[in-house]
Symmetry: C2
Subunit: 506 residues, 2 copies
Amino acid sequence: MIKSLEESPIYRIANPRSIAFFGASNNFNRMGSIMLSSMEELGYEGPVYPVHPSEKVVRGKKAYPSVMDLPEIPDLAIIVLPTEIVAQTLEECGKKGIRRAIVISGGFRESGPEGAEREKELKAVADRYGIRFLGPNCLGVANPHIKLNPTPIPAEGPPGFVGLASQSGSFITQMFNYLHRHGMGFSTALSVGNEANLDIVDCLEYLAACPNTKVIAMYIEGITRGRQFMETARAVVPHKPIVALYVGGSETGGKAGLSHTGSLSGPDEVYDGLFKQCGIIRARTLTELFDFCLALGTLPKPRGNRVAIQTHSGGPGAAAADSCGRAGLVLPPLTKETEKKLKAVIPRTASIANPVDMTFSKSPMDDFYSIPEILLEDDNIDMLLVYFLSPMIFIERNLKNKGVPPEKIQEKGKRSMDKLVDLFYEVAGKQDKPVVGYTYRSLQERLVRGLIERGVPIYQDPERAARSMAAVLSYHRFRERALRKPDNIPRQPVNVLPQERGKTTS
Amino acid sequence: MIKSLEESPIYRIANPRSIAFFGASNNFNRMGSIMLSSMEELGYEGPVYPVHPSEKVVRGKKAYPSVMDLPEIPDLAIIVLPTEIVAQTLEECGKKGIRRAIVISGGFRESGPEGAEREKELKAVADRYGIRFLGPNCLGVANPHIKLNPTPIPAEGPPGFVGLASQSGSFITQMFNYLHRHGMGFSTALSVGNEANLDIVDCLEYLAACPNTKVIAMYIEGITRGRQFMETARAVVPHKPIVALYVGGSETGGKAGLSHTGSLSGPDEVYDGLFKQCGIIRARTLTELFDFCLALGTLPKPRGNRVAIQTHSGGPGAAAADSCGRAGLVLPPLTKETEKKLKAVIPRTASIANPVDMTFSKSPMDDFYSIPEILLEDDNIDMLLVYFLSPMIFIERNLKNKGVPPEKIQEKGKRSMDKLVDLFYEVAGKQDKPVVGYTYRSLQERLVRGLIERGVPIYQDPERAARSMAAVLSYHRFRERALRKPDNIPRQPVNVLPQERGKTTS
């Protein structure tokens, strides 16, 4: 097992100081050209050397006819070439002294016996030169923290805290937009492809040691180094949460075309057991994978499973209570003291049971400060779940009614929303208890967006919120059991950013 | 049971030709004023008569000191007054000759013994004058087809096909934005509140007969007229699908503060059995309630449970296959003929197993026409599930690379997207088989939005797509069994719009 981040074979793949790029040209329809253009768009600052047999300049950069001609030995080679010339290119990289590579090209083991032979050859070349590589048949790496994105789709949003190790390339490049919309970003995302040299266990070790990674997400279709995976995961989990989505697997397992109902239930149970033993939180869907990451990356440790629900509408409150129940969370009665304090700030029609249903919003200031403050102070309560319906529409209407001109309405509305965000953010941090929101409106509306960007996780359904809260609880319970028996935990370097409140991205 | 729509006591509540409005004033902070302003915003065209003891003009409309002074007998009274004067106001309405009302005001049965007494009084008044009313403690009705929205939140988007009967008022007013974003709209939404006079069974009967309603959604916290509910539902389901969300219930059941894990499992099972007997599709969450409505309102009857998945990315394809398996759908192998036809249009690296994974997009024209066409022609396939990743980003980048100026890029990009929408919409209608999409990007991007507006249901996770497809299948299977034994189906007038393809809203 690695002793430091720098010792990981992935370190210079995810943090290269310079890159040799094979397969980009001035023909923009080629995958290599598309990937190079993503990299330019994000603004990677190290030297990038396109290697091309005939073109002198590729996308404005000086190109080299051979890797041997490069003015230095780059840290990393990215290879997006036709299958037939990949091994030979890797060999040349080896001769030049390059020791890390990403092989994007497909046509290897996944394509049949002939491809499998080619993959063996590729491995032999790598072994001969001591080259460690991701792939083939992968999308490599995205490390937004150093503006590195040599994947087909442009990066969006700031860098974040989710470290992804994926057996599908799609998820490292097609999720930038998704994560950004939901208030997250990648710390580093790694696609392993056929795992001919580096595999998902290497990625796990790297992400455990990566200081930008607060939570590790894994997309798994099948693990070959089972024992090493377990050992590593068991060493990591007490220090950093791991969430995994295991999918029966049509991509790597060759099981496409089978019904997933029967034949795969065996292996699914095996993975379920494996995850449980390691304390890995299992997600059922991709949505849930990132839902859990959001909660695990932003929330403090809950002291227990007792939730207060704050709402101004009965139905959404009842739906949330239902979801909490299903997720194993409980809604205890509030203390007499809390009831007394609440009575001063809630409408006459309100219910001070739990859920606390204000029935309507008497004062946004109370909704966004006094009421959550009172609920968080209650010793019966470990976590707070709040229903958000932005008061923007009411404020806008009210101002319109007062004859305020349209451009001023926008401006005043925004200021009100930002003030509520400040208030709620402040109160949410007072008790070091998890505070989670849900809404049925868009996450992009100013108020909710503002809270998300401050690191308050808000979900588009109470079911997703409740399941994510339960995932955090389950993680910390496993963690504490594991830490009580420290001898059982193998040593593994784990590096986590100091938990800065409210920074979902950095 | 009612014999026609007009015979329903709800008919003139949902379709009033004129309205007496109690509780609106020039004080904009009152609930009545807010509700009247929503109504104005949507543009209800019949006369609205504000009744106010002192103000002569309310929000620009002539106001009347008493209902007795109104120039006609309005079809409907909407009452948003302090609890204490509600019964007396209803009595005056009765004297005037008004026979339909909505009582928004709270403070009745839900607030304790004193309120229960008040509710009895209210019922007695109604009985004396033959008044039928929704509420108290409700939000009444929204019928966007006649631009009627006397609920607190402004309506959004065009009218639609979802008929909602809800024991939470929030869901009839807070879901306009949600439904519009997901490509739906209400036909009519009804909030029943305390059900002192009209109840959820009356609403069900009305929505069954309502010609704008293609699918009935129900939010249920507790049913009192159990037998009538069952009889009505069993009569409706063979003609029109019903989806229900049952929630343990903190709003009406007074069960707030209890953990939902143990004590409510009994009743939950009772409802589960009841729904199954009637062929009502049960949703687990609000998200699922409307997910199922979208599929049931847009898709033709599937011939069976055999799905083809079309993707250009392995991971999303595998995740969808996994979701289909969990939902009881199967992925059969494609016929030899299909494989032959596919080979002509897919890239060399593609997999022609099922999921069909193109690995990358060779030609948008093939992705959006030839490939779905071939898959839909396959006799082994009953439904098609397609992964969407809008090619807009690639088209924009390509044009930028060619030096096309930014304003032209936007314009050309939009035209390309609209053309792909046309192509896909055409091919999706060719075989009368359900076609469903999923994406991890926003539903508001031009391509996906275009498809949604044409009536192609697209979900933000394959799990939601697969579960919705399974719900449609389950509905039609129940329906066919029921229709084979027609003697078992009580007669109930059911009125459905002729199924116009591609109209999610009308």
